[in-house]
Symmetry: C2
Amino acid sequence: MQKETSTYLNEVFIQHCRERGLKVTPQRITIYKALAGSTDHPTADFVYRNIHKEHPNISFETVNRTLLKFAETGILDVIESFSGARRFDPNLDSHHHIHCVQCGMIVDFKDEQFNNIQIPKQFKREYKVVSKRVVINVICELCQSK
Amino acid sequence: MQKETSTYLNEVFIQHCRERGLKVTPQRITIYKALAGSTDHPTADFVYRNIHKEHPNISFETVNRTLLKFAETGILDVIESFSGARRFDPNLDSHHHIHCVQCGMIVDFKDEQFNNIQIPKQFKREYKVVSKRVVINVICELCQSK
DNA sequence: TATTATATGAGAATTATTCTCATTTGTCAA
DNA sequence: TTGACAAATGAGAATAATTCTCATATAATA
């Protein structure tokens, strides 16, 4: 990663934290950077293992709690899974998912028409809508070939 | 539940099993009946606790394995959750979900327009599409009032 | 620079899922 | 009907995922 990018990410992140009353700690910066821009919808364990070599002093507990805290404060999203571990998604733009029901792989895709899906009026009254998404459950190429 | 309904369910279920090479056991009949027609998208543990009073000899292990086997053979679906326990859905008709991001409650709804969502062509080549669904993430009334 | 609320790390506890293996039981063919 | 046999079950242990507790450390603020 280039220095400029890294600095920019830091600034964005620090801004995020300030707005939400979160302390800016080295652990949080590391975890945020590990996730920002990624498209692999990782689990807490995956993030932990990714950063562990470079940052052996960051505990799994902190990674997990940080991701949950980030989700709680809207820095990232928890996304759907078919059980197994909880998965996180740093992409907050409206987008949709191809989701392999066998291996769990998730591919993001954009679709303007899907973005414009109108939520039935009756639900808007009863529920506070947080987000909406089209999820296409598939068997991916790799799993098909097995 | 009325006798007719029960008998009908049994017949449908036995048919299901025969077509898929599954043995028809009393445990499977019990588990199927506990689930059929339900709209609460239960976990294995929930199903287990539901039937345990009437059927104390059915183990959790059997409930869980049976539900997975049912999912594998298309008798029911595993549906999305935000982690926690795996959830099952006996409703195989095309439908969509209101999903409370706080308590996990899921409400089914029908929507013809959503059913007719067209999967982008490029994905049809690469992936074997199993199903598709609109998921609306919300905070439900109960959770809002907390 | 001192104070304080928040964050962290370690370890244990809890919850969810899967595995192993001995025993039982549906199913099918004779 | 009755074996034979593959499949299903139950019990217990193992593993995986998540959460809790609490002592210590640290970022933010005045």
